[in-house]
Amino acid sequence: MITFEGVTKRYGDGTVAVDNLNLQVPTGAITVFVGPSGCGKTTSLRMINRMIDATEGRILLDDQDVRKIDPPTLRRGIGYVIQQSGLFPHRKIVDNVATVPYLLGWDKKKARDRAMELLERVGLDLKMADRYPFQLSGGQQQRVGVARALAADPPVLLMDEPFSAVDPVVRTSLQDELLRLQAELQKTIVFVTHDIDEAIKLGDTVAVFRVGGHLAQVADPSTLLAEPADDFVEGFLGRDRGIRRLSFVSAGDLAVRSEAVVPGWSVALDEDNRPLGWRPDGDGAGLQPFGTVDLKKDSLRAALDAALLAPSGCPIAVDGDGRFAGVVTREALDEALTRATRGPSDG
């Protein structure tokens, strides 16, 4: 647990970057700091590992005031990832990843073995180990940055817009990778971004900042989308808040009909019982496109998307192996959407 207690940062020129911040960052979860440029996200983050010292208030790391810990010792126990990778240009990838283990005095072999293990973990080809950072793409460099931050297995990870400089496709895969790693490792992660979509995708908790380091709202993503605290948060969440909220509603409650027909259409299946397309009644026309939803895993947003993909207007329900499980009628979908948007906030 990281606790901000009445933390204020006033810079030398009088700028108040963070004003009386009170916040708890829970252990083992991702907490995202999101907000417009200049609102004090980076300043708040860097006060945790004392890259910046707070002017007033205190920050507790598991009940210990960070000011009482010698900075290098504190920092070796906190992973740090930034937008421009910050990799050492003069060291090979494997040695970059082994940086903190070296600092902690591990022997070289052990540190390098650990580094190789982490490169594999973050999905990098081990051929990269002997390269220098300039020989890697931006996305690969960010993966190395994550591996380096994890090398000494610190309980806390600070990430300052780590994926902002890569293209959207790479960004998505880096985000997925982080979620996969986090499911295994359960670190206490503070993640800074100005991208609300990223915040909603990654955060277990999202802290929305407004300029001056004031907290506008702290909530889990679904609550944030359902009940923005004020106009500022609502504006920041953007226009398609309603649709995005459906991502947090399970499709599991949808009513499914086991017959592979709806008025005017029937589902064509292969011999393995996997859907091939919608066949219109009458003859002549070929198979039409379809969308599927896995009720056990997918969200209502996926179900809606599947409905929009098909000319029949109905999602096809499938099991975990992609085999036909039934058809969701328009009425069933409408009913679920109504429940989701009207009902009390759902986790």
Binding site: P71, R75, Q83, G86, L87, F88, V100, L103, R148
Partner: protein
């Protein structure tokens, strides 16, 4: 041309080879010692200039003034202190010339460390000394080596001027040839000085390749 003096008399070179060799060794010592001394002095001065920014401008200005002084004048001023035809009389001013190139090279080299790199070094728990030795200085090496190449080549060519006060390594050959209207020593002197400069520069480029393989493609990237 008829019976005019030929550009090169090979037999003269053969007969005088031992003394040419002595001059060559003397030249190398007087050219390289100042660069070495310069590097040893420039490192702490450069570091101090980076640490205390206010020092930098005065240091560089002073070095530029030194650099602008005619070398011959400096040699002559030094004669009463260090003696005529002494190596030190040549080495001392050349050390200052090297400093004028190397101090800015060290400062620029340290300045070439990207901000996000030093920041992440701090964030990972490097102390100041460790960061200097393991991050800042290694990253400064390509820029410092580039300065070292300039300092070395100009030092090799400047030594010759010392011949005017009786200690100029291969420069003696120019004076000798000029006084006797005899081209061979002049040609030998020029060829050797240029060869020395090219060789020294080549060795430094090689050192750069070996020491900083990570910097090779960065410039083209």
């Amino acid at each position: 041309m008829g019976d005019a003096e030929p550009l090169v008399r090979w037999d003269w070179i053969g007969r005088n080879w031992p003394s040419i060799q002595t001059l060559l060794v003397d030249h190398v010592i007087m050219a390289l010692v100042p660069v070495l001394l310069g590097l040893i002095i420039a490192l702490p001065l450069g570091l101090a200039s980076v640490r205390w920014r206010l020092l930098y401008q005065p240091t560089v200005s002073l070095m530029n003034v030194v650099y602008s002084l005619p070398s011959l004048a400096v040699f002559i001023v030094l004669i009463p202190l260090t003696g005529l035809a002494e190596r030190a009389t040549v080495i001392i001013p050349l050390t200052f010339y090297s400093l004028a190139v190397l101090i800015p090279a060290v400062v620029d080299g340290l300045g070439s460390v990207p901000d996000h790199v030093s920041q992440s070094a701090v964030a990972m728990g490097f102390g100041p000394m460790r960061r200097l030795l393991q991050v800042d200085l290694p990253i400064a090496v390509p820029v410092v080596l580039a300065g070292l190449r300039v300092a070395t080549v100009s030092s090799i060519s400047l030594v010759s001027v010392g011949a005017l006060i009786g200690r100029g390594g291969l420069g003696y050959l120019f004076i000798d040839g000029w006084q006797r209207q005899f081209y061979t020593p002049i040609v030998v002197g020029i060829v050797l000085v240029v060869a020395l400069a090219v060789l020294a520069d080549g060795l430094l480029v090689l050192a750069q390749r070996l020491l900083t393989p990570w910097a090779r493609a960065r410039r083209t990237a």
